[in-house]
């Protein structure tokens, strides 16, 4: 239900006028100065109409200045409004999801039949409700019983339903989402007005957008520059008066010109775009389906220099694949493949299927007639840590087992079989290559090892290399043993790894890095991740995770994607870079504006200064008008950049600085010379003198 592009622009135009309210204006000190300047020149114009004006000053000129200043203010308003409109459109569609529904409130979780009907808005924290297929979940909560598939498209935009059930790491449900199947019993964890959806609406709308520390610091810098220019321009009144007396020629410059000069010199470009840069950064994060609990978190993301990345899903594909059959001496590889295939034939996991695929590729072993075999499949269980098959062939009962080396060894020795040393060698060999060894045994005889390979995702090595260039360390977190972890770490090119990771180990690792002065980012979902999430500087909780994890984090990833962390860092850095680039551009612009205005400004007092007018601008009038027209138009011209952000590349700081300095520093120095000269020529052609 997104607003169309045109509707957004219309809405923003309307908002630009609404924002002329002085109460709104005063929040942005730099633009407030322009606003006051516009008011003053408007009043001066009225006086001039009444015949009260400085010597040689024309009412038309004052009007032109006043109008351009009003447009400058409107352009700044528009920049902010257009940035906000995207968020507003998103918020509107979220509001659609936040309907008041009738909830079935239970007296106790044991008896879903015994309920009273209450409005979802009246639910209190701790209430227990029953939700069935087709119902909307009335409020945020935690599943305490049942399992169901939930359509969360209202908040994530993802149409495939997700599973929510009790007891695990997928217990959190969000108000406004709806059940597609089954039922859930939910304990309510939020009340009306403070739900996840409410928070999300106010965040995307920018309503609760507080200025971030960096934004405040930058604002202080801009105000400082504005104060300097205010004094520089205001003191020109007495200076020129005095100088005119000394030179015996000319007169003090007019207030209109002082105002125009002040607006030219004040950092209006960045002043006008600062807030839209922040809002746009937040909206880019939202478009990546990440919800930041504060703007501060995005800035911290730019600063992060240690990323804790979960191995599975981020570095490796989620599923391991069979890569090789490694028979022990005395066993044919084909024999091993045959047994492995047979034991995996009913195994629907990706690993099991990959074994069947490998057997087919290597030896063309295909499906067989299971009914003849009288087969019983033994499913994998956490206790035995093995799976397999019992079957009869040629009248003989057989059993095949496959599993982790130590489990299979226990099984073999318990049955009185022998464990060949060669098998240990194979297991070690596979582990040292970062693979997972599965030992296959048929009737107490060890056949060999299946090499299950962790598949490192395409391109991650390059990605981590780029991050390293930028000074960001990547650390792989895995439950694997150190040997396997080391091999995968080497293949993926991460800087370090934490093997056999426990929540405590993660927490210690984070504290350790922080005490050395690093800023750490991590992703987590389970309740046991909560302490580490709370400790990390940027903590992204998966939306599928538990309530505790979400509360401990400072961002929520609605897609629950483990690679999101890298995107978040990019968005954070891009936001800060955009701010810096536009500030540099804005300050560099002043140099050209000075050269345009100063030589002609004191022309009446010291005609000799005209020699400095190397831009050959037509007159004082056209010079000043060109400068402030440029000043207004550059805001409009840079709105797209402030919304999209400056181009981001993974480069070391030094190179990034040189690049941005070249574009925005040098560009900011040169472009106004060209633009002001052009505008001056156009004004001259139009007959302005």
């Amino acid at each position: 239900m997104k607003l169309s592009q045109n509707a957004q622009i219309t809405d923003a135009l309307k908002q630009s006028v609404v924002k002329l309210n002085p109460k709104t204006q005063v929040k942005n000190p730099v633009m407030f100065v322009v606003y006051i300047g516009a008011l003053i020149t408007t009043v001066l114009f009225c006086f001039a109409l009444g015949g009260i004006h400085g010597p040689g000053e024309r009412a038309g000129f004052i009007l032109a200045i006043a109008l351009i200043l009003w447009f400058t203010v409107l352009f700044a308003n528009f920049a902010e409004a257009i940035a906000e409109s995207r968020g507003r459109a998103q918020a509107d569609s979220l509001r659609g999801a936040r309907k008041d529904v009738i909830a079935r409130k239970l007296k106790s979780a044991d008896n879903p039949k015994d309920y009273t009907e209450v409005k979802s808005n009246d639910l209190k924290r701790g209430d227990i409700v029953y939700v069935a297929a087709g119902d909307q979940i009335p409020m945020d909560g935690e599943v305490i019983d049942g399992a169901a598939s939930v359509d969360e498209s209202a908040i994530t935009g993802e149409s495939a339903p997700v599973i929510r059930d009790s007891g695990g790491d997928r217990t959190a449900v969000t108000g406004g989402t709806s059940l597609v199947s089954d039922w859930l019993i939910i304990r309510i964890t939020a009340e009306a007005g403070e739900s996840f959806l409410d928070k999300m609406i106010s965040m995307v709308e920018g309503a609760s957008r507080k200025k971030t520390p960096n934004e405040i610091a930058l604002q202080i810098l801009l105000v400082t520059l504005t104060i300097i220019f205010l004094v520089v321009t205001a003191t020109l009144l007495p200076f020129t008066g005095f100088a005119a007396g000394q030179a015996g020629r000319g007169a003090a410059i007019s207030i209109t010109i002082v105002v125009a000069l002040l607006v030219c010199l004040a950092p209006t470009t960045i002043g006008a775009l600062l807030s839209s840069i922040g809002i746009a950064g937040m909206s880019r994060l939202n478009s990546a389906n990440v919800l930041a609990m504060s703007g501060r978190a995005i800035e911290a993301a730019g600063d992060v220099d240690v990323l804790l990345l979960d191995k599975t899903g981020t570095i490796t594909l989620g599923n391991r694949q069979a890569a090789e059959f490694l028979p022990v001496p005395g066993v044919e590889e084909k024999d091993l493949a045959d047994a492995a295939q047979l034991s995996s034939i009913a195994d629907e996991t990706a690993e099991g299927r990959s074994i069947a695929v490998l057997a087919k590729q290597r030896f063309d072993i295909r499906g067989r007639d299971m009914s003849k075999l009288n087969a019983t499949f033994i499913e994998f269980s956490a206790r035995t840590r093995m799976s397999g098959i019992d079957y009869t062939a040629d009248g003989q009962a057989n059993e095949i087992r496959k599993g982790a080396a130590d489990a299979v060894r226990d099984y073999v020795t318990a049955q009185g079989g022998t464990w060949p040393e060669a098998c240990d060698e194979l297991v070690k060999q596979v582990a040292s290559q970062g693979g997972t060894p599965l030992v296959v045994v048929r009737n107490k005889q060890v056949l060999g090892v299946i090499y299950l390979k962790d598949i490192v995702k395409n391109g991650v090595k390059e990605r981590f290399g780029d991050l390293r260039k930028m000074g960001i360390k990547t650390i792989m977190i895995t439950g694997d043993n150190p040997i396997t972890a080391a091999a995968i770490a080497a293949e993926a090119g991460v800087d370090d790894f934490l093997a056999e990771a426990t929540p405590e180990a993660k927490l210690t690792l984070i504290r350790d890095y922080q005490s050395k002065g690093h800023l750490v980012a991590m992703t987590g979902d389970g309740t046991n991740d909560a302490p580490a999430l709370a400790q990390a500087d940027v903590a992204v909780a998966m939306n599928s995770g538990t309530q505790a994890a979400k509360e401990a984090g400072n961002m929520v990833d609605l897609d629950s994607s483990p690679t999101k962390l890298i995107d978040i860092v990019r968005i954070g850095k891009q936001l800060l870079m955009t701010r810096g680039a536009l500030t540099t551009f804005s300050v560099a612009n002043d140099v050209a504006k000075y050269f345009a205005i100063i030589p002609v400004l004191f022309f009446l007092i010291y005609p000799e200064l005209a020699r400095l007018n190397f831009m050959r601008l037509t007159s004082a009038t056209t010079a000043i008008l060109s400068a402030i027209i440029y000043n207004a138009l550059i805001i409009v011209a840079l709105i797209p950049l402030s919304l999209k952000g400056v181009k981001y590349r993974e480069l070391p700081a030094g190179k990034m600085l040189s690049r941005n300095l070249l574009i925005y520093g040098l560009g900011g120095l040169v472009s106004p010379f060209v633009a002001i000269k052009l505008i001056d020529m156009i004004l001259t052609v139009c007959g302005v003198r």
Binding site: P213, N214, I216, A217, L218, I220, L221, V223, T224, I228, V231, V232, A234, T235, L236, P238, F239, G241, F242, A243, Q246, A247, L265, E299, G302, D303, D305, K469, M470, G471, I472, K516, G517, K573, L576, M577, R579, G580, A581, T583, V587, D590, V591, I598, L601, Y606, E608, L609, R611, L612, P652, A653, G654, M656, L657, S658, N660, L661, Y664, G665
Partner: protein, 561 residues
């Protein structure tokens, strides 16, 4: 010209060569480490602590440190103010000079407390020997020591982490005076006294000239000791009204060299102290490089302008602009002095700035208008420069996609406020002071010149006071109640606003953790950064003063073409 260039290069090379060991020595003093002077001075140091009741290891929080600085300065202020008022009834006054009038006493006191040494008076005819030595010379030492102490505080802000305190003011003050200023002053006193700078308590000498048999009074006094510290402590207040342009204050080429040298040596050395203290010598090298680049650029413009842009007269060999310059110094050494004294916030002169060419005078003004950070005052120059570094880091740091940090300290809103206070004070007070003067009734009558040069005289005077420099363009009658009062207030504000801001900035920095640096951290010790820092300094300076300079020296230059 080639001898001038050779002299300039030799001067700078020697300056850097001696600044390095001195800088490292000052670091030892700052840290309270043992130095080669310790055996001699430690007993004195302990005695001083006992007398004033201070414990050097009693670490102060920023508020207490700032309070100590202000209290110390206030007491010094009252003492000097009263001393000047009642000098007529005090001893060591062989000329029987009367007490100084109240507004001149206020201005002079403010001037010396704030390490400005703006002189609205002529020393030899206004101040008694007691006022000079007990009043002014003492302030020459301690106001310099205060500046260095405050720099120490800022340095501690960078090297400490998760700490609340910033050092002990009494220990800093005592150590700087005792271990750095006094020994250097002794050396310089001996060197210049050997050249003929007077050092006596005898009254003025009267003699009869051969030419017209008229009597001439030659003023004398304990000048050498005061001249030494006036140069070393970037004070600049001459013993005599004509300052180092007067033969008894600066008689020879050698004394001239020593005096120039001593006015830059401590500010230069402190850059190396900084590098040593933050355990990254390159940081100090970057700062000194930036200072030297700006200095050399200004020096080149001044020298070329003085050398080539002087008026030419038919039939006279072009000698450069010698008006208002001593023959012993010539264009070269006068230009070098002019650049040095305005780059450092010294303000001593060996020639008349009013007689410099329009562009030469403008560069001297501009060096001050940058905020006295190119070398600058002892201590104050470097903390001012660091404020600009933090401003630059703030803008550049954002461009590399991180929130800004300097030396591992993140720059937050509070830090930015303090940095802006440090940077804002000088230009605002310069402009507002000049504006007030232009509006003052009868302002034009204070000036020797009309036209653009007249405005330059006014602008120079307030630039000098509002940057704690103290040099006078001359050519302006400065001893009026108006300039004495506004000037006095400006000098105090521009000294103590940045001091308090620096101490609080340091306090806030020292509370922070030190962030680890990586490839993603902005380097603050390479050429790109140095270039950017220079650009920011010039842009802020140019943007603030281009309009007023256009009405003064720039118009002056063009109207004379």
């Amino acid at each position: 010209m080639s001898t001038v260039i050779f002299q300039d290069i030799f001067f700078l090379a020697l300056l850097i060569a001696l600044a390095i060991p001195l800088g490292l020595y000052i670091h030892q003093v700052m840290d309270g480490q043992k130095t080669f002077m310790t055996p001699v001075l430690a007993p004195v140091e302990r005695l001083i602590y006992r007398v004033i009741g201070a414990r050097p290891d009693d670490e102060m929080k920023p508020k207490r440190y700032a309070f100590a600085v202000l209290a110390f300065s206030l007491v010094g202020f009252l003492f000097l103010f009263v001393l000047l008022l009642i000098q007529g009834i005090l001893p060591l006054n062989p000329q029987h000079l009367r007490g100084v009038n109240w507004h001149l006493a206020f201005n002079t006191t403010a001037s010396f407390i704030s390490n400005t040494n703006w002189q609205a008076y002529a020393g030899e005819t206004t101040l008694s020997y007691l006022s000079q030595s007990l009043g002014l010379t003492v302030q020459n030492f301690v106001s310099a020591a205060v500046g260095i102490s405050v720099l120490f505080v800022l340095i501690r802000g960078f090297i400490r982490h998760e700490k609340e305190t910033v050092g002990n003011f009494w220990a800093d003050l005592t150590r700087v005076t005792l271990y750095v200023l006094i020994p250097l002053a002794v050396i310089v006193t001996v060197l210049i006294a050997s050249q003929g700078v007077v050092q006596t308590l005898a009254p003025a000498h009267t003699s009869t000239t051969l030419q017209s048999a008229s009597t001439v009074t030659t003023h004398l006094g304990p000048a050498a000791s005061q001249v030494a510290i006036k140069q070393l402590g970037t004070n600049g207040g001459g013993f005599f009204g004509a300052n180092s342009a007067f033969p008894l204050e600066n008689p020879t080429a050698f004394s001239n060299f020593i005096e120039m040298f001593s006015l830059l040596i401590i500010p230069a050395a402190l850059c190396f102290t900084f590098g040593k203290a933050v355990k990254d010598a390159k940081q100090g090298h970057t700062l000194i490089t930036v200072m030297v680049v700006l200095f050399v650029a200004a020096l080149a413009i001044i020298t070329i302008s003085e050398h080539s842009l002087a008026p030419h007269y038919a039939g006279v060999i072009a000698s450069g602009n010698m008006e208002g310059k001593e023959v012993v110094n010539g264009v070269g050494a006068s230009s070098l002095w002019g650049a040095s004294t305005t780059a450092a916030s010294n303000g001593a002169v060996n020639a008349t700035p009013d007689s410099f060419t329009a562009l030469g005078g403008m560069m001297m003004m501009f060096l001050m208008q940058l905020g006295e950070i190119v070398f600058g005052g002892v201590g104050s120059g470097l903390y001012g420069m660091i404020a600009f570094v933090m401003l630059t880091v703030f803008i550049a740091g954002l461009m590399v996609g991180r929130t800004p940090e300097y030396l591992g300290k993140k720059i937050g809103p509070f830090d930015m406020k303090m940095v802006c206070a440090m940077i804002l004070a000088p230009p605002l007070l310069t402009l507002i002071g000049t504006a007030a003067a232009t509006l003052a009734p009868g302002a034009a009558s204070w000036l020797n010149n009309t036209g653009a040069h007249g405005f330059s005289e006014l602008l120079y005077a307030f630039t000098s006071m509002a940057n704690n420099n103290g040099s006078a363009f001359a050519g302006m009658h400065t001893n009026t109640a108006f300039t004495n009062l506004t000037g006095g207030v400006i000098m105090l504000l521009v000294r103590f606003i940045p001091i308090v801001a620096t101490i609080f900035l340091a306090g806030n920095l020292s509370k922070k953790k030190i962030v680890a640096s990586s490839e993603g951290t902005l380097s603050t010790s390479n050429l790109t950064f140095a270039g950017l820092l220079i650009a920011i300094i010039l842009i802020i300076g140019a943007l603030s003063f281009l309009p007023s300079l256009s009405l003064g020296p720039i118009a002056d230059f063009f109207t004379r073409l």
